[in-house]
Amino acid sequence: MKLKQLFTLLLSVLTLAASAQTGGVRGRVVSRAGRAALDGVRITMTPGDRTALSASDGAFLIEGVEPGNYALRFETPDFEPLTIAVRVDRLVHDMQAVVMVPASQREALDDSIFAEFDVETGSDAQSLPTSLSASKDVFNNIASYKFSEMRFNVRGYDSQYQDVYMNGIRLNDALTGYTPWSLWSGLNDATRNQENTTGLRISEVGLGGVGGTTNIVTLPSQMRKGLRASLVSANSNYRFRVMATYASGRQDNGWSYAFSLSTRQGGNDYVDGVYYNAFGYFAAVEKEFNARHRLALTVLGAPTERGAQQASTQEAYDLVGNNYYNPNWGWQDGKRRNARVRDYHEPLVMLNYIADFSERSRLSLAASYRFGQNGYSALTWQNGPDPRPDYYRYLPSYFERDGNPAGAAMQQVYWQANYDNIRHFDWDNMYQTNYLQNDPADEALYGPGRRSNYMVEARHTDQRDLNFAALFSHLFRNGSKLNAGLALRRNRTEYYSEVKDLLGGDYWADIDKFAERDFASTPEAYQNNLDYYFAHGAAHAARKGDKYSYDYYAHVAKGSAWLSYAFSVGRLAVTAGGEIGFANMWREGRWRKGLFPDNSKGDSEKLDFLTYKGKLNLAYRFSAAHVVEANVLYMQQAPDFRSAFVSPRTRNTVTPNLKEERIFAADASYNLRLGDLKARLSGFVTTIRDQAKVLSYYDDVASTYTNFAMSGIDKLHFGLEAALSAPIWRGLTLNAAVSWGQYTYDSNPDYVQTQDNSAAVISRGRVYWKDFHVESTPQLAANIGLAYRSNRNLFLSLDANFYDNMYLSMSPIYRTDEVISSGMTPADIAYIRRQENFGSAFVLNASVGKNWSIMRKYTLGFSLSVNNILNDQDIKTGGYEQTRLVKNTETAVTSYQPFDSKYFYMFGTTYYMNLYFRF
């Protein structure tokens, strides 16, 4: 007897001792509406970064936790994130029901909210502002949504400085570095599951750069089960959107799947010719082999067609009477036909394999393939006057400058009355002109048929992007964590132009019209495809669907290996990481250009770059409420493909002085969290060195088409960010944020300007723009707002935003010595070099929403947001200086004056109404 008692006692003591290591937390997550179980809720326990997912019945368990005080954070789409402090003892603490409250539906942020830039220098889409991801950081959360109306860039960084991952693969564009939101544009519900880091923090999937990271997780097992459908009516980007998403949740047989379909259609109330005809599809399937191994396949795509807007000069806007005039379209067949239409379908297929060797070790392997095509149409013409309606010669200012006030007055009358549709393209005239073409000289070369003088071409960048990533993480018993990864990328993009619509003609003669003008007597010189010319005796008569003008591959191969280690020393949390890699790029011309027969077809020089990063994150936790952080980064990255070649459409010549770009960044923050009050104050400084940029444009000084290659561009960004989200009373919360920065160019870059036709150097020198401002983001942005949520799920918000210090994108040409003529005084020189500051703007936005719970299972809701309530239609959101110059030859010395700049304006009052249904 005694022995048995002793044995039991011994056993219980031993068990107790053992359980000293097995404290934990468990509970059941439910929704406040009807206590319905919430599955797929991500629960994060800090310190320690343990994570768990709630099961289909809402249950969760985190065990093997050292006793202590922790914070448990519950996050899932459509519900307000919840943080609960919990104390863990030697046993598993049962929290019972954890109640989450449904969140208000926010206006969808997708790339459609940004007006298209249509820069004449020939480069394609502008980058998107950085803030398109949802973030739990109090400042980024406010900045992302509230400041997006002004194309705000966090800390002034272009989108290439924000890393966007999907399931562990970094998907920023291989050639430009831009964020790839357009790949899943319209699939907001399917891509809602995001892990974000801000600024210089190291993430779980990679070290990141200066602009934070976003990792979108599309694994269906992590998507909450149910159907979500929504219907949107709006007037600012598209007229309506329908979206439906279904996720099966984690099923008992180990399978889970999800799919989503959406469409966005229609135009807007402000700019004519801009429209959306876009679809999105998404399907993901996952199989859990056992608790340890999972395999998932994701397929998504966003086939889109949309009409683009072109900025115009203030003169044109004033003549038309509003700031939304779009010169890109004209009437045809009773409809508005836009010359610049984006048409793309770039599906993405991804395979993920995750192996959890233990609760503490995970290996994740991912492979993705992106393919498809991406075209951007444009009107092109062989000869004749420029058909664009707002060409400078058709505006009154041209007549004024010419000393013809009567002509100017007449033009003004025509524009104001839109006499004979002077404001728009005349498609009919282009067709009629094409119908007329039957010159025997053309027939002798190209055969019978009408030779089009006008046509719509589509400039393509068709990518084949293959990625592979391996991620390994291990959580040590002492709480420290090791993350390591390997990423490999191989991209081949075909750049070419395609004949899209011959506008009534039968073929387009594929010759270089500028070379024909200059070298008419040698037909070889003006061939775009010299091998074709030698084989057939004449240039190609390109028909609809044929490639023409140029055809080359951009090849990029990149690889990197990284490591990060996170550990704590008392109250100090340290994460240190390093990465090393390479980038290899080259151009492969597919056609031999007549002007450069020896330097166009075949491979260019193979460019090799070394890349590396070193990052350190320090966080000192005074208490759960007060945390101070300091971060530092030094990195070297490869230049992007576009700036590596002087004129990639014509030849293999590499940009002179091309170097790796180097970035140094440091920031420090103070974070405050008192219950539901959150605040952050940060200071940052970043230097970017040795960027390169290439422009191609018609130079009025040299009277020829040129390539302008800049190197040694340096930038300095520093500033302060402050944000506050404070509950005031009952359901009322105050939010406020300020971003104040100074983002300037920190050097006078070197440039080399070559004649596009001959590669002869026209001029060299410096671009004098040191201390001028980085463009296209307000350097001061401030928000103050109120948000209210009632017990019955009524949401109201009101926001007042203020912006200032936004600068126009500069044309480097105006800041060189080439435009300086001998009569100019220093004041004249300063005048031609000055940069335009847009001035301040004040915007008021509001929203209202409500949702109802039906039969404890379904949610029906709506939200309506109204932006720019004050209907201010004079707020510039962007723009650029033109590259052309007015040449004054009347005076004794030829002098130059810049052309008028072109601007984009914010829309007046717009609304966005979303009706949604979920279960």
Binding site: L261, E305, Q332, R393, Q432
Partner: protein
């Protein structure tokens, strides 16, 4: 909701979506109808022939050949002719010539670029004259728009919308032998200012390289740009370039190149002398009859083709124009070649 239901709803949505957007279907417009006199008359316009138009111009303005004179037409008139020129090869710039066979008279139209595309040679063209300006430039009358510069009597009609308001395409008539006036060694004395603007074929004419005895007594061939003229006798270096470097062995119709070591390109007009009677010193300052200067723009595609050698005999087809100084003296008859093939060696 069962899976089946869900699938049904989603497929229905998908189908609906497929038909949702058809933005790309634009019907091509029908070919426009050609204009006829009836169309112009129905607008209330009265026909005036090119000959009458030019005569009225001179009588209204009372101008001398060199003076800057304009007639801004505000009467409801129209004229018509056949397009006889092409600017495809770059020798004409923003200009076309219209020929009226019935009155055997031609006139220049000053419009914009690429006229061969819109108004090809052989096409009938109607011009609504009200609102346009007839002007004189050094002896040549042209139809254009009002000029703001007092040195010029008219300017180009450049705004595309206005061009289309005033110019209307008629039928395709095709070029015929009657469009070209044939001149040779026997009848060149009969060539008068009546033929200004017309296509003239000079048969059996001699190419002359050397110093002219008439007018400014220029050396031919010569090249002109930036207010300076260059020929083989130009002393020393031409802004850093010798004559030999500039034109090489064989003089060409026009020239294009870089001067001052600068990469900017300068386009030079070329002037070449063709004659039936090269020793004639002429009267006063005017060129002697039978002597003509082919003036070619540096932008012409055939600028690099050689001028026929000194003494060579050719058949040459060109637009016949006149050029005087501002006092109407130093009259030269200049020829504009439209296409390289218009010069045929005998």
């Amino acid at each position: 909701m069962t899976m089946k239901r869900i699938f049904q709803y989603l497929s229905a949505t998908a189908l609906a979506l497929l038909f949702a957007g058809c933005y790309n279907d634009f019907d091509a417009p029908a070919e426009e109808a050609v204009y006829t006199d009836a169309d112009l008359v129905s607008k209330g316009l009265t026909y005036i022939s090119i000959r009458d138009l030019k005569e009225q111009f001179w009588s209204r303005t009372g101008a001398g050949a060199g003076s800057v004179a304009s007639w801004a037409i505000d009467e409801p008139l129209y004229t018509r002719g056949k397009v006889i020129s092409t600017d495809r090869y770059g020798s004409l710039y923003k200009s076309l010539y219209l020929y009226d066979e019935s009155s055997e008279s031609a006139i220049e139209l000053k419009i914009t670029t690429g006229n061969y595309l819109f108004y090809p040679a052989g096409r009938e063209l109607f011009v609504e004259l009200k609102g346009l300006v007839l002007g004189n430039y050094r002896g040549m009358v042209s139809i254009g728009a009002a000029s703001a510069n007092s040195s010029y009597s008219n300017d180009n009609l450049e705004v595309p919308m206005l061009v289309r308001e005033h110019l209307h395409r008629g039928e395709e008539l095709g070029m015929t032998a009657a469009d070209t006036l044939v001149i040779d060694r026997t009848n060149y004395a009969t060539l008068t200012d009546d033929a200004l603007g017309r296509l003239v074929r000079f048969e059996g004419i001699e190419s002359v390289h050397g110093k002219a005895k008439w007018g400014y007594q220029n050396n031919f061939p010569n090249y002109f740009a930036n207010s300076t003229s260059y020929d083989r006798t130009s002393e020393g270096e031409l802004n850093g370039v010798t004559w030999a470097d500039f034109i090489g062995g064989t003089p060409t119709w026009a020239a294009w190149g870089s001067l001052n070591g600068a990469p900017t390109t300068t386009y030079f007009y070329g002037s070449a002398w063709f004659s039936y009677d090269k020793t004639n010193p002429g009267e006063n300052t005017a060129a002697a009859p039978g002597n003509y200067v082919v003036r070619t723009s540096g932008y012409a595609q055939f600028r690099g083709a050689p001028i026929p050698a000194d003494g060579a005999t050719v058949d040459l087809t060109a637009i016949y124009t006149k050029y005087t100084n501002t006092s109407g003296r130093y009259i030269t008859y200049q020829l504009v070649i439209l296409d390289e093939d218009d010069v045929v060696l005998k």
